[in-house]
């Protein structure tokens, strides 16, 4: 069984599931299902079995005889806290995975002493999420979300038990503007807007919106990187970035407009958006006036941050360090020539900086962490 075959099987399963729920399949989906049913008698038999209660009763009985609760208890004993972490494919052009983890800081090996600030202190490690997301209300007050208890109100919104900010639609309130900001060094924040659109705000990013969408369009301004799942409510949804205006009806898309990136990128997962003079279809990305199609792998890279990962495919060290610098809130400085090697792999975002860098160190990136007057700094050393 190879991967495409497995993917096809899971696709067929989801088509059958959709049909069972009464969802209408699109024309290509209907023909894919038809084709599968017709290509082999066993497929048609399976299809019939899955909609007939007497046929599936035996399967249900079998499933009933297995108890996940008992298994969960056994599992919790076997699952240990993260000690050994697996770094997948942190490979550079000629990397050798070293088995030795070296401590993150050594002071005496800097080749250019004049670049070291006199006041720098050595630091050990940085945890993610050191700086916290906050809401700026219509009256200018700032509320740090971490300080709000679950269930408490923040203006027109409520902070939920899992840290999300959910707005309630309320026609009677006067309309004001709120801004949710995730600072550099903060972890992504989820917001549910007054129209039930779901929004994830990435590190060093913000969104500004009305607390009630009373006009003919729903407008949101943003900086940085934000992922949207826009609720369909008949009114167009407009996002304004530093350079583009993106118009959608009901759809899932990611906008990366960090000012230290080369271009503002709008990536569409589902639905339809208009940006510039282009209309995007799913799996298309708009940047600098051009539309490109991106494949499933590249799409996963775009969406990795929302799924709690850093995900890279042949990234240069400057881009890598720019993302890490943003997430761990540290200044990045290169001593000497930055390596020309590229990096690929996936790594979880809940790890501390040291754990991420220990992974990096296997690929022979050398660095030094220091504390300066204005914060933390990582100095990348030449090879």
């Amino acid at each position: 069984m190879n991967e495409p075959q497995l993917e096809r099987a899971l696709r067929i399963a989801s088509l059958i599931k959709a049909q069972r729920k009464g969802v209408e399949l699109s024309a290509p989906e209907t023909s894919e299902l038809q084709q599968w049913r017709q290509e082999n008698e066993s497929h048609e038999t399976l299809y019939q079995q899955l909609s007939d209660v007497q046929m599936i009763a035996a399967d249900l009985e079998q499933m009933d005889s297995h108890d996940p609760e008992a298994a969960k208890l056994r599992l919790t004993r076997k699952i240990t806290r993260p000690g050994k972490l697996h770094f997948m494919r942190w490979a550079a052009a000629a990397a050798i995975l070293a088995a030795v983890a070296v401590t993150a800081v050594w002071l005496l090996q800097s080749p250019k002493p004049e670049m070291r600030p006199v006041t720098a202190q050595v630091i050990r490690d940085i945890q993610p999420g050191a700086r916290k997301a906050y809401v700026t209300l219509g009256n200018g007050n700032r509320v740090v979300l971490d300080d709000v208890k679950a269930g408490e109100q923040v203006g027109n919104a409520v902070k939920t038990a899992d840290g999300k900010l959910v707005y309630q639609s309320s026609a009677s309130q006067a309309v004001t503007y709120n801004t949710v900001t995730v600072p550099r060094g903060g972890v992504p924040q989820f917001v549910e807007l007054p129209d039930h659109s779901q929004v994830w705000v990435n590190t060093e990013s913000s969104i500004t919106y009305a607390t009630a969408f009373t006009g003919t369009i729903r407008k949101v301004e943003m900086t940085g990187e934000v992922y949207f799942e826009v609720a369909k409510n008949g009114k167009p949804f407009v996002v304004q970035t530093r350079t583009d205006r993106i118009e959608v009806m009901g759809t899932h898309f990611n906008i990366n407009s960090y000012s230290d990136e080369a271009a503002v990128k709008t990536t569409l997962l589902e639905g339809k958006v208009r940006v510039g003079n282009a209309v995007l279809a799913p799996n298309e990305q708009y940047a600098n006036g051009k539309v490109v199609r991106i494949d499933a792998v590249a799409m996963q890279r775009v969406m990795a941050w929302k799924n709690g990962l850093f995900s890279y495919d042949k990234v240069d060290v400057q881009t890598l360090m720019r993302d890490l610098g943003r997430y761990y809130d540290m200044e990045v400085v290169f001593e000497g020539m930055p390596t020309r090697r590229t990096f690929e792999g996936e790594i979880g975002r809940s790890l501390s900086l040291k754990e991420v860098l220990d992974g990096l160190h296997f690929t022979e990136l050398n660095y030094r962490l220091e504390k300066t007057a204005s914060g933390n700094r990582i100095v990348m050393l030449p090879e």
């Binding site: 069984m1 497995l6 069972r20 399967d59 499933m63 297995h66 599992l75 997948m88 969406m303 996936e346």
Partner: protein, 205 residues
């Protein structure tokens, strides 16, 4: 019973950040289906349970590497399938641990893929049954899984027979399953009667 429900997206995020709630979600939704799949391939319920559990552990061990829920599912089925094939090839180290074991031939890839489709659809059907309103779910299970007659169900749950028939029909409707046989037609008539709670026990035979 699932208490806190999280979404598939949240499961990915939680898994990647090392939160075991994600495993709980996966267990709730896919453990039984994986065991069903493994049992179809290996023929042994105990082996199947082991394989389902080990697949979950492997997912946990690889946390931090799943970019989507689809990726997690793929990995679960791949692990289960490989474990099944290992069992069949090696004749099972489990053979020593568990008594019931039927030696089987290695199935064709098409068979395996069909069983994956079955397991994945059954996972959802099973969850849908769990989510039926309480009485309806009980009636459904007693009728179709335990195979009790309408009279037996009516007695055990202190309902009238026509309530039992009604609940069966509505469950099938909600689950969008079909039933072969005339029962279905009779139940259609009874659909007109609204259910308003536990009914008086009218003795019927």
């Amino acid at each position: 019973m699932m208490i806190h429900s999280i979404s598939e997206d949240e499961c990915v995020r939680l898994l990647n950040s090392g939160d075991a709630k994600a495993v709980s979600f996966l267990m709730d939704h896919y453990y039984r289906a994986l065991a069903l799949f493994a049992q179809k391939i290996t023929g042994s319920p105990e082996t199947a349970a082991d394989i389902a559990e080990e697949s979950m552990i492997k997912v946990w061990e690889n946390r931090g590497h799943f970019a989507s829920f689809a990726a997690i599912k793929k990995y679960l089925y791949q692990c289960a399938r490989n474990a099944c094939f290992n069992e069949l090839k090696l004749g099972g180290r489990r053979e020593r641990r568990h008594e019931e074991y039927t030696r089987r031939q290695e199935p064709s890839e098409d068979f395996v893929l069909n069983e994956i489709i079955r397991a994945d659809v059954m996972a959802e059907i099973y969850t849908a049954i769990e989510e039926l309103p309480e009485k309806m779910g009980q009636v459904f299970k007693m009728a179709y899984i335990e195979g009790l007659s309408n009279g037996e169900i009516a007695d055990q749950l202190t309902l009238s027979i026509h309530t039992v028939k009604n609940q069966k029909t509505r469950a099938l409707e909600l689950l969008r399953l079909q039933l072969q046989g005339k029962e279905h037609l009779l139940s259609l008539l009874l659909m007109l009667i609204a259910l308003s709670g536990p009914e008086k026990n009218i003795p019927v035979h």
